[in-house]
Each structure stands twice: as structure tokens, then as C-alpha cells.
């Protein structure tokens, strides 16, 4: 096995649950064994720092979530690349609940990008209640639009 410099995680007990913060690349070298041993009654997984995930990483994650079938799991701060996997592979979410996800906006004038964190109450049933456009703070002139199709983006929440 190759020592894995690409992937890091932090485990922090918080009240009745344990927060796991994932960082970096999830691929064939990623091992979630250590995460199984937390013994926490509930898990909160923070995906904000995940920079890439390939099919081997998805497979490992799906198996990990399956093994924790009886543990309540919450996904928070899911970046667009994780949202895309959740839409493509429903078992990536499995029995977990998504509590928040980032939506990418892009300015039509200066192409500046902004990620806006949306809580579950605003995308709960797959009918997102989010602004279609935002004013661009970077150039002050353009309008920022969602980089993607909002309904397709939140398809995982249906």
C-alpha cells in the first residue's frame, strides 16, 4: 500500500455525536477503517475540504456508509463535486441526511465564482428555494448565475 499523503481527516467528539472532517483526494488509496472505530452513536461528516473523488473512492465510501447502517449520519457543507456524486450514485448518500450543500454561482461579466452554502430546508424536496441570480461583488456590474441546473443539482434531495 502507498502511504497516503493526499487524504486527511479529523475526528472531533461534539455533544452526542462525532464530527469527521474529510480533506483532500478520495481514491483507491483512501482507507476509512480508522473512521469505523470511533464508536460514535451519530456521525456528522464535513465534506468541505474534499478536492477530488474517483470511482474507487466512491466505492469505498459507499461500503463504509453501508457498514454504519444503524448509525445516524449527517453530511454537511457538501461541495459541488460531492453533490455530483450524490446525484449520480444514490448509495453515496445511503441512509445519511444532507444538512447543507454549496451551490456554485458564476458572474456573467467577470467569471468570478462564489460558493453559497444552502441549508437543507431550502432544497428539502428537490425543489430548491434559492436565488437564481446574485449581484457580483467582485466587478459590481455582472449578475452571478448558478453554474449548473438548480433542479438537476438538487436531484439527490428528492
Amino acid at each position: 500500500m502507498i502511504p497516503n499523503e493526499k487524504f486527511k481527516f479529523e475526528v472531533k467528539p461534539e455533544g452526542g455525536s462525532t464530527r469527521i472532517t474529510l480533506k483532500g483526494v478520495i481514491d483507491e488509496d483512501t482507507d476509512f477503517e480508522a473512521l469505523k472505530k470511533t464508536g460514535a452513536p451519530a456521525l456528522v461528516v464535513n465534506f468541505k475540504g474534499v478536492t477530488s473523488i474517483n470511482s474507487c473512492g466512491i466505492r469505498t465510501w459507499v461500503n463504509f456508509v453501508k457498514e454504519l447502517q444503524s448509525t445516524p449520519i449527517q453530511y454537511e457543507e457538501c461541495p459541488p463535486l460531492v453533490v455530483r456524486q450524490m446525484n449520480m450514485v444514490p448509495s453515496f448518500v445511503g441512509h445519511a441526511k444532507v444538512s447543507s450543500a454549496f451551490v456554485p454561482y458564476v458572474c456573467d461579466n467577470c467569471e468570478t465564482e462564489k460558493l453559497v452554502l444552502v441549508p437543507a430546508k431550502d432544497f428539502g424536496n428537490g425543489n430548491p428555494n434559492i436565488p437564481e441570480t446574485l449581484k457580483c461583488e467582485s466587478c459590481g456590474e455582472g449578475e452571478m448565475e448558478i453554474d449548473g441546473n438548480p433542479k438537476q443539482y438538487f436531484a439527490f434531495a428528492k
Binding site: 500500500m1 502507498i2 483526494v25 483507491e28 488509496d29 477530488s52 474517483n54 470511482s55 474507487c56 466512491i58 466505492r59 459507499v62 461500503n63 453501508k66 459541488p80 463535486l81 455530483r84 449520480m88 450514485v89 448509495s91 456554485p104 458564476v106 467569471e111 468570478t112 465564482e113 453554474d147 449548473g148 441546473n149 438537476q152
Partner: protein, 243 residues
């Protein structure tokens, strides 16, 4: 749905299929053995469909419009080089500020490279030569050619191995399993199924040119568009005779 028949085809399965399809519907056709599928509202008068049918009647492989133009080329020599290649493609195609397209391109390229590295090369016993979870360093006769280019409309990517081991049936099985709900994602250490599905799902056009025992090239076009357009996508799997 229109089917343009081809000769030497008693079962009638090798046809050029056209109609307006979802990706899942296209996969149902692939699963039935259809190697040439074009989703287009023009049906059989679509120039690309006509071009494909004509080429197949002559035993040739057509060059699609999205394959035209100059390409840049890089060589993949092992699993550790994937990230550098991915970063180079992003930089050369100026995708830094285009998250949606960039992440799609990076994901497709990653799956193309990973599939080829770990599945294309086999030992004499038929087992895969390079195991996942171990570093793969290819021999010089196994080097993989990566070609790419970008236009305002999208990105072209192609990955070509020197094995020629990919079979249409394998690809069809991988796609149909992933699309049919009973996913085969779990409990598999190897297997190119999920990666193939991720590629097919993300791209607009996918073309495989297999020369059995010599090479397999998987070329694709990723349109710079934000939502799925079921009037323009294609899947084709050509086999060159190597006799």
C-alpha cells in the same frame, strides 16, 4: 427510433440507432448489443448518422466533427502521473475559472486514466497486471497516450492504450448494471463499472475504437453546457480488424 441496418448481421443487432433518447434509454440499447447510438432529433438524415452508416458499410471508422482540430498530446506512464496530467489539461484548456466544466473534465479524465491503468493490461493468465492500491508503473510498450483540445464549445479528450483488451460486452455490462438500479458499486475491489458509468454520464459524445490485441482508444467530447441535452449525444464502439 430509426435503425439503419448493416450487412453480415443476421441477428439484426448491429445497427446504427437514432432517435431522441435519455442516457438510460441509450444504455438499454447498448445492453442489447447496439454499438452505434445517436440521439438526434434529425434521425437518420443527421449528417453524422449518415457519415457513420456510410463508413460502416465500407468497414471504416468515421472521424466525427467533434474530433477535428489540432490536439495536444501527453504520455501517461504510471498511476502517480495522473494528477499532474489532470492539472496540465486544466491549465492548457484554461479551465481554472470554469468550475462546472473543469470538474467534469477532471473526473472523466481521472476515470479514463484509472480504467486504462488498472484494467487494460493483463498477465498471461488473464488477470489484471496492475492492482489498485499499488503503484502502477507502465513498461515502455504500455505507455498511454492522452490527447486533448479545447474550443469555446467544449473539451475533447482521448486516452489510448497499447493493449486492445477492452471488449464491447464488458463495457455494455458495466453501463447496464449501473443504470439499472441494482448497482454493482458495493463490495468490489476492482472492476471498471462505476468509472465507465461516470464517463458515459458526463460526456456528450463517446467513441471507442478497438483494435483487439493492439490498442483501444476512448475519445470523448464534453460540451460546455450546464444541463443535459438529449438531442445531441452519441455512443459508438468501432472494432478495427487486426488480422
Amino acid at each position: 427510433m430509426t435503425k439503419l441496418p448493416l450487412p453480415n448481421n443476421p441477428a439484426g443487432l448491429v445497427t446504427v440507432n437514432t432517435g431522441v433518447l435519455s442516457k438510460a434509454e441509450a444504455v438499454l440499447l447498448v445492453d442489447k448489443g447496439c454499438r452505434y447510438i445517436f440521439s438526434t432529433e434529425l434521425g437518420k438524415v443527421d449528417p453524422v448518422v449518415k457519415m457513420t452508416h456510410a463508413a460502416l458499410l465500407q468497414g471504416a471508422v468515421p472521424l466525427f466533427p467533434w474530433e477535428n482540430g489540432e490536439k495536444e498530446e501527453m504520455t501517461l506512464g504510471g498511476s502517480r502521473e495522473r494528477q499532474a496530467i489532470s492539472e496540465a489539461v486544466v491549465a492548457r484548456c484554461k479551465l481554472e475559472r470554469k468550475r462546472f466544466l473543469r470538474e467534469k473534465v477532471q473526473s472523466v479524465l481521472e476515470e479514463l486514466m484509472t480504467n486504462v491503468l488498472f484494467h487494460a493490461y493483463r498477465n498471461a493468465d488473464g488477470k489484471e497486471k496492475y492492482a489498485r492500491r499499488q503503484e502502477a508503473v507502465l513498461a515502455s510498450r504500455e505507455l498511454i497516450a492522452i490527447r486533448f483540445s479545447s474550443t469555446a464549445q467544449g473539451i475533447y479528450l482521448s486516452v489510448k492504450d497499447q493493449a486492445g483488451s477492452l471488449k464491447f460486452e464488458e463495457m455494455a455490462r458495466a453501463l447496464s448494471r449501473c443504470y439499472s438500479g441494482h448497482s454493482q458499486i458495493e463490495n468490489k475491489e476492482s472492476g471498471a463499472g462505476l468509472g465507465t458509468y461516470m464517463i458515459f454520464d458526463a460526456v456528450t459524445h463517446l467513441k471507442v475504437v478497438s483494435a483487439p490485441g493492439q490498442s483501444t482508444e476512448i475519445a470523448c467530447w464534453i460540451a460546455d453546457q450546464r444541463s443535459f441535452d438529449n438531442q445531441h449525444f452519441s455512443f459508438s464502439f468501432f472494432e478495427r480488424s487486426t488480422k
